[in-house]
């Protein structure tokens, strides 16, 4: 049986202040933050990490919220589970792409206990929420004791399992601006088994002008095809200011594909993933456009 072999000291926090205090105290120690632990526990079982301290923030019910208003947009507290995001009436109404994304995250059991922010902080390059958050222009709030900073979702993960979160810090919230009129967003992932990490994933946002002809904004997020989720800026530029035709979309997909740098693995070669990323951009781009025309 696989169990966690190495002992650690368990430090549960009840409030955000308590969590930040614990983090400040253990800043220079070998610690890990646990929320749902759906990736962390497995990593500990495999002895990939053997922290001396586990700071448990799962009990911070203050950070378990999803709120929306037109002015400040959407706010997702750091202890929101995948399942809460999936089932939230606010999400289904305003950002259905996030519910669509959630339906393919692992399994119901994992979504029930695991958190969205925990998933982001684990920073697997194929993290499911990564691409849609990039497409939606999300910001991530990182807090330390007595300080707070806000970073762009696309900057958040810096490398395989590495983020901008520094020792002594934790993520407290994700913010997503309200979508402008005539916007459509779509996400899809390709994986060997339903619910598994993506070989490649893509999210596209398209905003059209008043006449619903010309693209005024485009954002493209890709997952699984680099050492962190990728924003395909060159492909976005190609779409902006133009009427999006199938040809243009195919061209942008090709450009997006060139903006990736996947590595080969046992499931697929780098070339395959690169190509797949382009195919997915074309596919979700088409749907995002259709949604923008209806919105």
């Amino acid at each position: 049986m696989k169990t966690i072999v190495t002992d650690f000291e368990y430090l549960p926090a009840k409030t955000v202040e308590e969590a930040l205090e614990l983090l400040a105290q253990h800043k220079d120690d070998d610690y890990k933050i646990i929320a749902g632990g759906q990736s962390l526990n497995t990593a500990m079982k495999h002895r990939l990490i053997t922290p001396e301290y586990i700071i448990d923030i799962k009990g911070l019910s203050d950070l378990d919220y999803i709120t929306f208003d037109e002015k400040s947009g959407l706010r997702i507290g750091a202890l929101t589970t995948h399942r809460s995001l999936e089932k939230s009436p606010i999400i289904r109404d305003k950002y259905p792409v996030l519910a669509e994304m959630e339906e393919n995250v692992a399994s119901v059991e994992t979504r029930n206990w695991g958190t969205v922010v925990g998933d982001l902080c684990n920073a697997d390059p194929a993290v499911d929420p990564g691409p849609p958050l990039i497409a939606l222009d999300a910001k991530v709030t990182i807090a330390g004791k007595g300080e707070e900073r806000v970073v762009d979702a696309e900057e958040f993960a810096v490398d395989f399992f590495e983020t901008l979160v520094q020792p002594g810090e934790m993520v407290t919230e994700i913010q997503i601006p309200a979508l402008p009129p005539h916007s459509g967003v779509c996400f899809t992932k390709y994986s060997q088994i339903h619910g598994d990490y993506a070989l490649a994933s893509a999210a596209v946002l398209i905003t059209l002008d008043e006449s619903k002809k010309k693209c005024v904004n485009a954002r493209i997020g890709l997952g699984g095809v680099g050492n962190a989720p990728v924003r395909a800026k060159k492909a976005e530029e190609l779409l902006k200011g133009k009427e999006i035709t199938e040809d243009l979309l195919a061209q942008a997909a090709g450009v997006a594909s060139e903006e990736t740098s996947p590595i080969s693995g046992i499931e697929a070669s780098a070339e395959y993933k690169k190509d797949l990323a382009g195919t997915l951009v074309k596919r979700v781009g088409k749907e995002a456009l259709a949604r923008a025309q209806k919105a």
Binding site: N41, M44, E109, T110
Partner: protein
């Protein structure tokens, strides 16, 4: 250092002391001796170890036991009423929804969590809920049929009860 874990399992309160590295499945199987919850992949991939924690299906191999402090757990042993099987258990038998039975307790707990929330699920909704459960012998159709059958049984049980209440 061991820490206190107060937990209610199948209605029984327990006051335990556990090492922080202990997983919920280890408490259930090794400390409480409830071996109906099975461990297979131990890496959150098969769902055989599914139990219900405060109303939600979770994989007990992937939850730190101390995170269940103060919470209620329901395992397969908590379903039957004495020797009378729970309608979901009976429906699994009647619909040939298992062969070796290793994954069955996890399947039944996930089905219970679904039916508690949604008493009349569609085939697709059942599929979505059971998606993470790996069964190597049965094929998944019979499991889906068993859960739809269980939903009917639970509903008729419920209406029989409310009928009695009215009389």
């Amino acid at each position: 250092m061991k820490q206190q874990l107060k937990i209610v399992v199948n209605g029984e309160p327990y006051d335990l002391f556990v090492e922080p590295k202990t997983l919920l499945v280890q408490v259930i199987r090794e400390m409480l001796g409830l071996k109906g919850t099975h461990q297979a992949c131990d890496s959150s991939s098969c769902a055989a170890c599914t139990v219900i924690l405060d109303g939600m299906a979770v994989k007990s191999c992937s939850v730190l036991a101390l995170q269940a402090n103060g919470k209620e757990v329901l395992t397969i042993e908590g379903l039957a009423d004495g020797t009378k099987l729970h309608p979901i258990q009976q429906a699994f038998i009647d619909n040939w929804a298992f062969q070796c039975g290793f994954c069955t307790s996890g399947q039944i707990m996930a089905a219970k969590a679904l039916l508690d929330e949604n008493p009349n699920p569609t085939r697709e909704e059942i599929q979505e809920q059971m998606d993470g459960h790996i069964c190597r012998c049965t094929g998944y159709n019979m499991i889906n049929e068993a859960i739809r059958d269980a939903a009917k049984r639970l509903q008729s049980e419920k209406s029989a009860q409310s009928g009695k209440g009215a009389a």
